[in-house]
């Protein structure tokens, strides 16, 4: 049987529960309480934090150019995108965020969730997902990286730093 994205996510989330084994209370304690964010359409505060942690890992402030994901609030853009998706896809993407948040616990047996890793650790963890033997982790990494890359580099504030510009449309 070939697995669909949805079935894979269901199976993987089942594995999360089995492997952690600490019950819902233990999982929640490990993740901690995310600060409240006003105005979210779909994402929970926890999901918003996870997504923000991915975005700032992929596009940190400083380095080759100053602007980073945090200044552009990419997680909120993702929230807006999700609001127009159907229930199934929205559910899949939220499950993917949950899986990523608990990834260090489940797959690497570390006592820390993704959004509590250092920036360097988050990049390294994400890279391991990209090259994982597990299809689900590769899919989650691929989907998030593609979405966040397109949104980040579609912002005109970023363009001067990478030598990009749209040509003017002749009248």
């Amino acid at each position: 049987m070939r697995l669909s994205r949805r079935r894979i996510l269901h199976v993987s989330l089942g594995a999360v529960t089995l492997v952690v084994g600490g019950g819902a209370g233990g999982l929640l304690a490990l993740r901690g309480c995310a600060p409240h964010v006003d105005g979210l359409l779909c994402l929970s505060d926890q999901e918003y934090r996870t997504l923000g942690a991915v975005a700032t890992a992929l596009f940190p402030e400083g380095g080759a150019f100053p602007i980073g994901a945090a200044q552009l609030d990419l997680a909120r853009v993702f929230d807006g995108f999700l609001a127009d998706e159907d229930d199934d896809r929205r559910g899949d993407l939220k499950k993917a965020l949950l899986l990523l948040e608990y990834g260090p616990v489940v797959y690497e047996r570390r006592g820390v969730t993704f959004s509590h890793l250092s920036a360097e650790d988050r990049v390294a963890h994400f890279e391991r997902w990209q090259t994982s033997d597990d299809l689900t982790r590769r899919q989650v990494a691929l989907a998030l990286r593609r979405f966040l890359s397109v949104v980040f580099y579609d912002r005109p504030e970023v363009w001067p730093h990478i030598g990009y510009a749209l040509l003017p449309v002749p009248a």
């Binding site: 070939r2 697995l3 669909s4 994205r5 890992a57 992929l58 596009f59 940190p60 400083g62 380095g63 080759a64 150019f65 995108f81 127009d84 199934d88 920036a119 360097e120 990049v123 994400f126 890279e127 990209q130 090259t131 299809l135 590769r138 899919q139 691929l142 989907a143 990286r145 593609r146 890359s149 397109v150 949104v151 980040f152 580099y153 579609d154 970023v158 363009w159 730093h161 990478i162 030598g163 990009y164 749209l166 040509l167 449309v169 002749p170």
Partner: protein, 506 residues
């Protein structure tokens, strides 16, 4: 009588309407069929799920993928191995393609004759329709000054290696070189179905409903068919109402995925419907040069290295592989670079120095379209080892081309990136396994899901395009192609759609 374009998101759906012909899909196949059938005096209604985007509504930003492509640009195979890019806009894929005009090679038609029994589709019979398609598209060769550095580097590499290549015909006129063809042309330089066939069909009296999603066909063997339609909101995200279209003839031209999806949702057709899906996946490769390339300005795709393609393969028709230059927006390029985080940003500082190409590898019908419990398309695809080997061969060829042109490094954007700086490092490519979701494959040329065959044992539709088991339900798009028709499908679809539509009208 002049037709009209009606945007159903504005709440003006008629509830129920009757026509001679209901065409589903307004792209190269649908618009051409509508033109021919309206010209022959039929009362034609075309249903299009997307909106009508022209001129300044095409912003040249990546955000346009949301509006111009199926599933907001996120459609993929179920294992996410391949992005399936399919237009969802009035005018279809021709609005958002790279304008490459490549007719069906005679060798492909001979293959269809010999292997699939499509004896009437001879090179001689199809030739006038190919010529007509070229005229409609105003096919011409880009001027030398329109070949940007990205394309010129590929050509320089081919010339240095003594490999065959060509500047491809295109369907642009008065191109301003804005470089954003894949998200529509704001200066309307493309002579695509939106600019040619749709105005002609309107002139002949055809009507077009936009934001109209066909969800089921009833009565496929009856004199009158019923097409059930859901109207969509202005952004095309949500269904808002219903409409019923009654028609003697239904023409499916919604792309090889969506045409099969609709038949399957409707319980129409034989066991071949949805099978034999050809995706012709393309793999991007990037290369870094000391000089500025600025692949994002000018014609994105003008030059192809054709050294390794065959157009007369007895078994497949079009086979081998080709390497074509391509311009990528920064987000797309960033998503396939070999570094993340701060290192990724450092690489992107060099964005104007990146060249890029797509490795186009024709395939057999390894894929399948099915529908889930809610009627949505599921696209399955498995890549045989032989095909993977051709990708490895193509990657090596692209690397050699770029190194010959002076690249400092060539980057293969797999999950474990391969970076090549000398020919001695080409052997690293042999380790690429192309497991699902490890390489950013893209499909823009879906074909074959209701393939033409001389009997129901061999395919989903007869050589006239009529779906087996129906009376008056036709496929006039790439669904019918039994093998890949060409490296780029716009011209073949227009060609075959007109050929079959004229027969249908007769």
């Amino acid at each position: 009588m002049t037709g009209a374009i009606v945007d159903l998101s504005e709440g003006n759906a008629p509830g129920e309407t009757s026509v001679d012909v209901c065409v589903i899909g307004s792209g190269s196949g649908g618009a051409t069929a509508a033109w021919e059938l309206a010209r022959a005096g039929r009362d034609v209604l075309v249903l299009e799920e997307g909106g009508d985007f022209r001129g300044g509504a095409l912003t040249m930003r990546d955000g346009m993928y949301d509006q111009l492509y199926m599933e907001r640009g996120g459609r993929s195979t179920v294992d996410m191995a391949i992005s399936v890019m399919q237009g969802r806009v009035l005018g279809g894929g021709g609005v958002i393609n790279a304008c490459d005009v490549v007719p069906i090679p005679d060798g492909v038609l001979r293959c269809w004759q010999k292997k699939y029994g499509l004896s009437e589709m001879s090179p001689e019979a199809i030739s006038p329709f190919s010529r007509r398609a070229l005229e409609d598209l105003s096919a011409n060769t880009p001027r030398p000054d329109q070949i940007n550095v990205n394309n010129a580097l590929l050509r320089a590499g081919a010339e240095a290696l003594g490999w065959r290549g060509e500047v491809m015909l295109h369907n642009r006129q008065a191109c301003q070189g804005l470089g954003k063809c894949l998200v529509g042309c704001p200066v309307e330089a493309k002579r695509n179905p939106r600019m040619v066939a749709i105005p002609a069909a309107l002139e002949a009296g055809a009507r077009f409903f936009t934001r109209a999603r066909a969800v089921r066909i009833d009565g496929a063997t009856a004199e009158q068919k019923t097409v059930h339609v859901r109207t969509l909101d202005a952004r095309g995200y949500h269904e808002t109402g219903e409409l019923t279209v009654r028609a003697r003839t239904v023409v499916l031209a919604a792309n090889a995925v969506a045409s099969a999806q609709l038949l399957l949702r409707s319980g129409i057709g034989n066991e071949h419907v949805g099978r034999h899906l050809i995706l012709q996946p393309q793999l991007p490769v990037t290369a870094l040069f000391d000089r500025e390339v600025r692949s994002f300005h000018g014609i994105p795709q003008a030059y192809a290295v054709t050294e390794f393609e065959r157009l007369d393969d007895e078994e497949h028709g079009f086979w081998g592989f080709r390497v074509e230059a391509v311009g990528g927006t920064p987000g797309i390029v960033a998503s396939v670079l070999p570094r993340l985080g701060a290192e990724g940003k450092t690489l992107m500082r060099g964005y104007p120095h990146f060249a890029a190409s797509l490795l186009l590898v024709p395939d057999t019908g390894n894929g399948r379209v099915t529908v889930d419990g809610r009627g949505r398309a599921r696209i399955e695809y498995s890549m045989p080892d032989e095909q993977k080997q051709r990708y490895r061969d193509a990657v090596k060829a692209a690397a050699r081309l770029y190194l010959a042109a002076g690249a400092t490094r060539v980057m293969v954007p797999t999950a474990r990136p391969v970076v090549i700086t000398t020919e001695a490092e080409l052997s690293a490519v042999d380790a690429l396994g192309f497991e699902p979701a490890t390489a950013p494959f893209i499909s823009a040329h879906q074909q074959g899901t209701v393939r033409f065959a001389t009997s129901p044992a061999g395919g989903g539709a007869d050589p006239s395009g009529q779906v087996y088991g129906t009376r008056g339900v036709y496929v006039l798009d790439s669904s019918g192609f039994p093998t890949s028709a060409s490296s780029h499908t716009m011209t073949p679809i227009i060609t075959i759609a007109r050929y079959l539509a004229q027969r249908l009208a007769a």
